[in-house]
């Protein structure tokens, strides 16, 4: 068992270098090489054609929209777009790859040599150099049956769904990221977050992490000093949330420092990330089995993007996230620190959509950065993974603005929506949470409260308004928080003095 070195200690002893491969599923209507539809949550094996199933004689045909999306991504990452590029076969045997090869790009990616500027939590910027972005197709999905954990070990057999096989992917590979030092884990997370925002802004993918639209493989190596040659790297596969990316890099740095300090050597291998324990374990060692015998795909002709087309795509690129964030901050009137918190919480789109649903920027921020941020943190999920939509927050805030519920009741409504009890309006009705606007029940409660505390009633009567709060409190309690405190105050004064 490896001794982990305390993280702070590890980064003083070694200089970490990371590299990240991000796969993004493009949001096209059909697959990369055939017309099978792509919809989330379809019944297994209902979105397949002879091409997606790898049936003999089936011929692929390139999805033009996917190529355009890949070029969009390349341009947004400041890459050069290849004058000519081609597809290649990556040969390996696994049940989720029905053809026994994945159609990918090897020596001629569509985009290469770019960079992206990543904003860190303190507001500073870190530039990540991009090696290449290439087009390929996704694999099907295996479900392992038998065994206790649904994992492969101990499974009796596996079930395969080919709906995902052939979905267009773009894989983006960084150059080795050096100079991040102890901030390497943060840079890794911020980089993937930046790409996620970029994919959405470009309209090339819904880029939902929890649905596996964006997946990251994280390479980590250590070297004694920034002047030393690069150390041997490990590749941790399929780290699929921002938080996990940061944790996985941190863990690998501590683990590798431990191995090196114990006089061991790092083995070049793939490793598996375990969300529950926050650790990685050894997968397969790079070996003979890694010989993919790439060769040019004979069934597809090369792609030579016309320069005029590339420029047309460049001209049509939307406002990119960094510029958009600056514009929204001005529009919303948030302070720098407030905006940074919103960005770091991944709440920009959520707040934008909530504002579009009618809430004020201040109210939208209050919900997403307050109650909802706390809930997300408790459940250890991203904000956007919470089972509530910006439209629902907009509707909730409207109930508050219309005076039908107060802030306290709104929190109960929110709880109901999160618990799957339906739309805010439905939760209000089902839980009977509406503010009591009818004076009758309020007056009855006020009379009860005054009768129960005659000394306070007397003080108020004699003009000392200090203890009014005690009566209001009693009324709020009696109405289970469903009274408008301002109205209760008016009524108390009328009752006592009138």
């Amino acid at each position: 068992m490896t001794t982990l070195v305390d993280y702070d200690e590890a980064v003083t002893q070694f200089d970490p270098v990371i590299g990240i491969e991000v796969h993004v599923e493009l949001g096209t209507r059909t697959k990369m090489f055939d017309g099978a539809a792509v919809t989330f949550g379809a019944e297994p094996n209902t979105e397949v054609t002879p091409v997606s199933l790898g049936l003999p004689g089936a011929l692929p045909a390139v999805n033009g929209t996917a190529v355009e999306y890949a070029i969009r991504i390349g341009l947004a990452l400041n890459c050069s777009i290849a004058e000519s590029c081609r597809f290649a076969r990556k040969n390996y045997f696994y049940p989720d790859v029905p053809k026994n090869f994945q159609t990918s790009q090897y020596d001629e990616p569509i985009a290469y040599e770019g960079y992206v500027d990543v904003e860190l939590e303190d507001g500073s910027t870190f530039r990540v150099e991009i090696e290449r972005a290439h087009m390929e197709e996704d694999a099907g999905k295996n479900t392992h049956v038998g065994g206790s954990t649904g994992r492969i070990h101990g499974a009796e057999y596996s079930l395969v769904d080919y709906n995902r096989a052939g979905i267009p992917l773009v894989e983006i590979v960084t150059k080795p990221i050096t100079g991040a030092g102890e901030r390497a884990p943060e840079v890794a997370r911020a980089y993937v977050q930046t790409l996620r925002d970029l994919f959405r802004a470009l309209g090339v993918s819904e880029a939902r992490m929890e649905r596996g639209n964006v997946r990251a493989d994280v390479n980590v190596s250590l070297r004694p000093t920034p002047e030393s040659a690069l150390g041997t790297r490990t590749e941790t596969k399929n780290v699929n949330s921002f938080r996990s990316i940061e944790r996985a890099v941190r863990y690998e740095i501590s683990r590798q420092a431990g191995v090196l300090n114990d006089g061991g050597t790092i083995v070049q291998e793939t490793r598996h990330w375990h969300e529950d324990t926050g650790t990685t374990t050894s997968g397969r060692v790079k070996s003979d089995a890694e010989d993919y015998r790439y060769f040019p795909e004979p069934d597809l002709v090369p792609i030579a993007p016309d320069r005029a087309w590339v420029e047309e795509i460049r001209a049509s690129l939307p406002e990119l996230p960094a510029a958009r964030r600056r514009r929204l901050q001005t529009e919303w009137g948030y302070a720098d620190a407030e905006m940074r918190d919103v960005v770091n919480a991944g709440a920009v789109e959520l707040i934008e959509a909530t504002v579009a649903a009618g809430a004020s920027p201040a109210a939208a921020r209050k919900w997403w950065m307050g109650e909802l941020a706390r809930t997300a943190k408790q459940q250890e999920v991203e904000l956007e993974a919470l089972p509530i939509t910006p439209a629902q927050i907009g509707a909730l805030q409207k109930l508050v603005d219309d005076g039908r519920i107060n802030d306290k009741l709104a929190r109960q409504v929110l709880e109901g929506v999160l618990a799957g009890e339906g739309e805010p309006e439905a939760v209000v009705v089902a839980r009977g949470l509406e503010v009591v606007s009818d004076d009758g029940p309020l007056l009855a409660a006020i009379d009860d409260a005054l009768a129960a505390q005659p000394d306070i009633a007397e003080k108020i009567r004699s003009g000392n308004l200090g203890p009014v709060g005690a009566i209001i409190g009693a009324v709020m309690k009696a109405t289970r928080g469903q009274a408008d405190a301002g109205r209760v105050r008016e009524l108390v004064l009328e009752r006592v003095q009138g």
């Binding site: 094996n45 040969n91 295996n142 492969i152 792609i303 030579a304």
Partner: protein, 99 residues
């Protein structure tokens, strides 16, 4: 002169999951060698001023519109598989690494 060794043939066969007997390896090493040498002669002709080509057709940018087509019938496809369960293809235990 043979450029393709028995070991290489055995290795490639292994990668392609083809089970060969020692006699087959001997025979194929010879036959494949003829093919490899024929192809190698092309590189004698290819000079730096001849661009590499990966495709015999003088075509580029053959694209399909992003429009869905009808899927194949699932029952028909699963009926052609050795086994299925819950609308999915059933495959034997997968050995090796985690998916």
């Amino acid at each position: 002169m043979s450029t393709l060794s028995r070991d290489e043939v055995a290795r490639v066969a292994g990668l392609a999951r083809i089970d060969l007997t020692p006699a087959e390896i001997d025979r194929l090493a010879g036959e494949l060698d003829v093919i490899v040498e024929s192809v190698a002669r092309v590189s004698e002709i290819a000079t730096p001023d001849v661009p590499a080509t990966s495709h015999p057709l003088p075509l580029t940018n053959v694209f399909r519109p992003d429009v869905p087509v009808a899927p194949v019938d699932r029952d028909a496809v699963l009926a052609a598989a050795p086994a299925s369960e819950d609308g999915k293809f059933l495959v034997p235990q997968i050995l090796g690494e985690d998916a």
